[in-house]
């Protein structure tokens, strides 16, 4: 049985100008020990979908899903008290901005102990020993002396590691890492990614990595789900995604990487992600897609089979050629 099952998850926000759909019919499945990366631009609903799993969205959000199950338990109908037993223990999350996610009024020792106090039956000395062990694990030098530090006394990289220590303190079965390394230097980033992968291998933890760094994705993930404007547009195993992207958006995104550039001019994607008021009636990517036809602009695209990366596209790419495309097709 899958650890996490999400079927047709939709999240809408009530705004002053009507409803805004941040996540649009996203389905995901995750087994124990999986590493899934969710990539997409800012505003593509990556974080919101995972916050919905955690139950951390504000009251303005309307969450609907055909199925939202964690380890056999339905997260849609779960009671708040039951949810609190899961969140922070079995499902934990590393948040994006370490500096603003830690409470500035409390020492990091206190904040780390809090999760252990709630979820484990360790006594005070046991908690202290566990915290020191955790801080050691995430590579903080001289952890004993750091317990009484406040977040502002630590650098961004240190705070991020404290966040990670907090997230892994109760040995979670599912860890959601929301841009865990964006604030960090490459050398520290390499250390953190190695640590997360080690935990995933040693403890069989499932890892969801939300990121926009394609390099990180290709080096850590097993499967990749690409999101665009709230929709999942493609999902493939990582090597196949980089070798043969099926959705034009994925292809354009990969081509725009400076690393893959052959010319001084990068192939860029014109325009920006559609906002609340300019969502096209057909394919959401059609205004920026160079392959878009009349059909794309007017009709919502179908979901392609798994062999074509579950691409949400009328003319999925196979080996760089758009199948069934009237103009530039194969």
């Amino acid at each position: 049985m899958a650890l996490l099952e999400i079927e047709n998850l939709t999240v809408e926000f009530q705004t002053a100008h009507g409803r805004f759909r941040a996540v649009d019919n996203v389905s995901l499945g995750l087994d124990a020990g999986d590493v899934l990366a969710i990539v997409g631009e800012s505003g593509s609903g990556k974080s919101v979908a995972m916050l919905a799993v955690m139950g951390l969205l504000p009251w303005t959000a309307v969450v609907t899903a055909e199925r939202l199950q964690f380890d056999g338990r339905d997260l849609m109908s779960i009671e708040a008290g039951e949810r609190r037993k899961i969140i922070g223990k079995e499902i934990t999350m590393i948040f994006q901005e370490p500096m603003s996610s830690l409470n500035p009024c409390f020492t990091i020792g206190f904040q780390l102990a809090e999760a252990l106090k709630v979820h484990t039956d360790l006594n005070k000395a046991g908690r202290r020993a566990r915290i020191i062990e955790l801080l050691h694990q995430v590579g903080i030098p001289a952890p004993e002396g750091r317990l009484t530090s406040f977040p502002h006394q630590l650098s961004g990289g240190m705070c991020q590691r404290v966040m990670i220590a907090m997230a892994i303190s109760c040995s979670p079965t599912l860890l959601i890492a929301d841009e865990p390394t964006t604030a960090l230097d490459v050398t520290i980033q390499a250390q953190i990614l190695d640590l997360l992968l080690k935990l995933q291998q040693d403890q069989g933890m499932a890892l969801v990595l939300i990121t926009h760094d394609m390099g990180v994705v290709s080096e850590t993930a097993q499967r990749v789900s690409v999101q665009y404007a709230g929709q999942k547009v493609e999902e493939q195993p990582v090597d196949q995604l980089f070798a043969d992207p099926h959705h034009p958006y994925t292809a354009a995104l990969l081509a725009a990487l400076p690393e893959r550039a052959t010319d001084r001019h990068l192939p860029s994607i014109p325009g920006v992600v559609p906002g609340q008021f300019d969502r096209p009636p057909g394919c959401l990517f059609s205004p920026r897609c160079e392959l878009a036809t009349e059909l794309c602009h007017t009709t919502q695209p179908p979901r392609q089979p798994a062999a074509r990366g579950l691409a949400l596209c009328h003319y999925p790419l196979v080996d760089g050629h758009a199948v069934g495309h009237p103009g530039k097709g194969a």
């Binding site: 490459v186 980089f242 990969l254 725009a256 690393e259 001019h265 990068l266 192939p267």
Partner: protein, 334 residues
Amino acid sequence: MGKIVLEAEALTRHYPISLGPFRQPAILKALDGASFTLRRRRTLAVVGESGCGKSTLARLVTMIEPPTSGSLRIQGTEIVGADRQALKNLRPKVQIVFQNPYGSLNPRQKVGAILEEPILVNRRVSAAERRDQAEAMMDSVGLRPEHYERYPHMFSGGQRQRIAIARALMLDPDILVLDEPVSALDVSIQAQVLNLLADIQEKHDLAYLFISHDLSVVRHIADDMMVMYLGKPVEQGSRDEIFSNPRHPYTRALLSATPSVDPAKRHERVVLKGELPSPINPPPGCAFEPRCPIAFDKCPRQTPRLQADGATMVACFAVTDPHEAGTRNIKGAA
């Protein structure tokens, strides 16, 4: 090779740090002996971790702060010890684009006012002419004329960075300092901005000082590179030479830590232990020694100087004195 527009020699910036009322202030060596030249149509990339002095370098080159020692010549004019008038004349020649376009634009100014302000302050030009210049500049960076009356919050990150670039170009500078200009942007937008920067460099004959920690971007845009560690340049040379044959162990660690999307380019990671030491109390000898995988007994005792090694300049004993490093195989250790 373009004309030299800026020459820096042993550029140094120290800050006194107060440790308390009755103690001697400590000296923070934010930048310690950087030498480089900037040429027209060339891009010098400065890479390194946070705290290595990249931004201090930007502050010195833009004349926001004077260097503690060393020499900095812009268009042949020495700015160390120069009087206010000379500095005032030189400042328009060097402009800067900051990392975060959400913080570097005044939210209460319209785009037009943002772009016209540099001219308003520095030149005597009529309002109509200012507007003409602003509109011409907006056109050349890909902003539409109707954007003139809009506020920064109405734009996306990529558009804001275009505004910031346009503002930097208003005084027709020779040198553009780019302080992590694309690191706050998404991949697809990043490509647009990098393309714009490449076009502008051609069009305006600009010299770029490109500060970044993203090596894939540096590899794309730079001509020359300077790798810094704790305020000191540790390796300096052409981009191709440094990427194809990195000599300093820190450069190698940086390159190997950068995740690559291409499985064929992937190599064994040199995972560095620990973090950047404090610049207030740097380790004796080579600053990189505590984290270095190939350090030997000379490293903690003496400070390596930047020396020519083949086509690049390196500050590492293991590279410049291989016989002293003994039998240790440097390539193998990396």
